[in-house]
């Protein structure tokens, strides 16, 4: 039972001052084992804050990140799953499933987490699952101002992942979940 927090695109301080209060009250240290962050924090203070939530922090570089030392992509293994991380501004067209699927195959991961669009999405394709946690602060994106703050918490338990989606809609936190299992057989079966 491993809890992994996935979030990104906070754009603090340029586009948003802070995480919504209701999110902040829920994010307490001691509960989460890993944090994966798609990028665009943008400053070190946010990095430090995330570090207090959980010492195991993985970040990839977004185009507005002030720390240029973050990698472009990252892969890690948690339990039975391989996770891939990338900000997503590098993958054109932005948010396109086919292109992201290509990246996923390149990284050879089961779950790919990307951001940049500031919209929560969760797709499944033969190669695996692509999740976009959206923007945790609701900052405006390159495309639109209409953004709901959102982030994702994954509960990895053996071959099963339960993805809890936290969204702030009209000032209230709404939580949904998505359930999927990893099939042990090769996922690249010819269809």
């Amino acid at each position: 039972m491993v809890l992994v927090l996935a979030l990104g695109d906070l754009h603090i301080p340029h586009r948003a001052p802070d995480l919504p209060a209701k999110f902040k009250s829920m994010l307490v240290p001691g509960k989460i084992q890993h944090i994966i962050c798609t990028g665009n924090l943008s400053i070190k203070e946010v990095h430090d804050y995330l570090k207090t939530l959980c010492p195991d922090l993985h970040i990839t570089r977004g185009e507005y990140d002030e720390d240029s030392r973050y990698p472009e992509t990252k892969t890690l293994t948690i339990g039975q799953f391989k996770l891939g991380l990338c900000h997503g501004h590098q993958v054109v067209p932005w948010g396109d499933l086919d292109s992201l699927a290509m990246l996923q195959r390149q990284l050879d991961v089961d779950i790919l987490v990307t951001g940049h669009t500031h919209q929560f999405t969760a797709y499944k394709h033969e190669g695996g699952v692509v999740i976009n946690p959206g923007s945790a602060t609701g900052a405006y994106s390159n495309i639109t101002y209409d953004v709901n703050p959102s982030f994702v918490l994954m509960d990895i338990d053996g071959l099963r992942v339960v993805v809890y989606v936290y969204e702030l809609i009209d000032g209230e936190v709404k939580v949904d979940k998505i359930d999927f299992k990893k099939t042990t057989a090769a996922t690249h079966s010819a269809h």
Partner: protein
């Protein structure tokens, strides 16, 4: 060799190694106060040929069937039994029925102890007399245990002299004494089955982590993401969660929230379990046995903490649990050993029930709390040995809390090694005077109580206090000669001692002192 003169107290006949001295010593040199009432007190409830038991170091051949690897790592604090001495093991002053096991003290004031028990060691250095007595005690117990309805009073009487280590007797006797097994043998199998399944149930309910709980709840609502193989690409469907049950939930009733709040306790339990008896292979080390034993301890303590939100887990409970589990797990009967965890849980609950109040901080200052118990110990000491009491309380101002707290709350497990603790617990659990587990009829026999009745444990505390008092009195010379620091040092690292003798003295304290 030694240059300085051996102090007087060391030369007292109590510690003497020469047979002649031993024969005349009655182990009362340090306990002169008993002299004048030894002829008058009733002899300990023994038949005269049966002497007080030897310390568990004397283990017979036949009983050594089960591996005793753990003994390898006992602290080197055991008295050594010498052949020649045991022959003169004392049955003199008939009502004193003492056995003097000589402790070897070299001239350099260094206690010359040795590790006695090794793997499958047959430590039968003693002569026939004491082993015969051991066999006879074992035989008595076995006879008693094999009856269809066990006479608890009789069992207590025999058990309070110490239970031999072999043949799983202790395991069964303790279960009887703690009320886990009813005196009526025919009920055993059904009761045991019921209790064990209950424990299994507890474990399933309480030890599940929230992911599993969520999964179980979900089995009813089917989510078939896998069956979307026909559609190799799709947006994953979102489903609503029930009752706000998500990992970051701050709700009081949330399974997740409770889980995280418990995790602190679970960590504490884990830490303590790892530290239990680090010298015994049974409990610590890398072997799979040790790991599974630790796992069992962890489970028991966690289930207990969850079932008892008022008291949860307090450091030290692991020490009380350890001997119980050790005995039950080493039961030569395989079926019993396999279910040791469940049995230990219930016996642990029972044992702790008498002492719970010691672990509750709010009750510290109340009538039932630890402070009042320590005061009772003080009173007891004052009654029996006013001089020592005065020296400790008033002259040197040694607050009994400094030493007695650990003695009492942990039932003396930390003061002695495991084997000695077992022996002491035999006496603690089987006080022949106490149990209200039957109605004493006029002809002196005990009417067996109905099934399900449990004996009250409070009298165990009385015995415990007597033993603590005896511990103090036995080293009175050194205490009287010491100052604050040395006294505290002595009492917090209680010197190795002859357990049987100590228990005998404790028993003697039962009556009212005549001074």
């Amino acid at each position: 060799m030694v240059k300085k003169k051996v102090p007087d107290w060391l030369n007292s006949s109590l510690w003497s190694t020469t047979p002649s001295a031993a024969s005349s010593s009655t182990a009362t040199t340090d306990t002169n106060i008993f002299d004048h009432h030894s002829p008058t007190t009733a002899s300990p409830p023994l038949e005269s040929p049966i002497n007080p038991p030897l310390p568990p170091t004397a283990i017979r051949d036949e009983e050594q069937q089960q591996p005793r690897h753990h003994h390898n790592h006992h602290h080197p604090q055991k008295p050594e039994i010498k052949d020649k001495l045991s022959k003169s093991s004392i049955v003199d002053d008939d009502d004193n029925n003492n056995i003097i096991i000589n402790n070897n003290y070299s001239d350099d004031n260094i206690i010359n102890n040795k590790i006695i028990i090794t793997n499958n060691d047959i430590r039968n250095v003693d002569d026939d007399e004491s082993s015969a007595e051991d066999i006879s005690k074992q035989a008595l117990l076995l006879t008693e245990l094999s009856k269809k309805v066990i006479n608890m009073g009789e069992l207590r009487r025999i058990a309070s002299q110490g239970i031999p280590d072999g043949a799983g007797i202790r395991s069964t006797v303790w279960k009887l004494l703690l009320g886990y097994l009813a005196p009526d043998r025919s009920l055993w199998s059904s009761e045991l089955a019921k209790k064990r399944s209950q424990y299994k149930h507890f474990k399933e309910e309480l030890l599940m982590n929230p992911s599993e709980i969520a999964r179980r709840l979900e089995k009813t609502t089917v989510l078939n993401n896998d069956n979307g193989k026909s559609e190799s690409r799709c947006v994953l469907s979102r489903s609503e969660i029930t009752h706000g049950e998500h990992p970051l939930s701050l709700g009081k009733s949330s399974v997740w929230n409770q889980f995280f709040q418990d995790s602190e306790i679970i960590e504490q339990i884990d830490r303590d379990v790892k530290r239990t008896h680090p010298d015994l292979h049974f409990f610590s080390g890398d072997s799979s046995h040790a790991k599974s034993n630790q796992e069992a301890l962890r489970n028991i303590l966690t289930v207990f903490a969850k079932l008892n939100p008022g008291i949860r887990y307090v450091q030290g409970m692991n020490e009380i649990l350890a001997p119980l589990f050790y005995i039950f797990k080493n039961d030569p009967d395989e079926e019993m050993a396999a279910c040791a965890e469940a049995d230990t849980f219930f016996c642990f609950v029972e044992l702790l029930s008498g002492f719970r109040d010691h672990f509750c901080q709010q009750l510290d200052n109340s009538v039932v709390g630890i402070r009042s118990t320590i005061t009772r110990l003080s009173q007891l000491l004052k009654e029996h040995d006013e001089e020592l009491w005065r020296h400790l309380e008033i002259t040197t101002k040694v607050n009994p809390q400094f030493y007695a707290f650990r003695w009492i709350t942990l039932l003396l497990t930390q003061e002695f090694n495991l084997a000695d603790s077992l022996h002491i617990w035999d006496t603690l659990l089987s006080d022949p005077e106490g149990p209200q587990d039957g109605i004493l009829l006029e002809n002196g026999s005990l009417m067996v109580p109905p099934v399900g009745y449990k004996p009250v444990q409070y009298w165990t505390e009385e015995t415990l206090l007597r033993v603590c008092c005896a511990m103090l009195i036995l080293i009175r010379r050194r205490l009287l000669a010491g100052d604050f620091t040395s006294i505290l040092k002595l009492l917090q690292n209680y010197p190795p001692t002859n357990i049987s003798h100590m228990l005998y003295v404790a028993n003697k304290l039962r009556g009212q002192p005549s001074h």
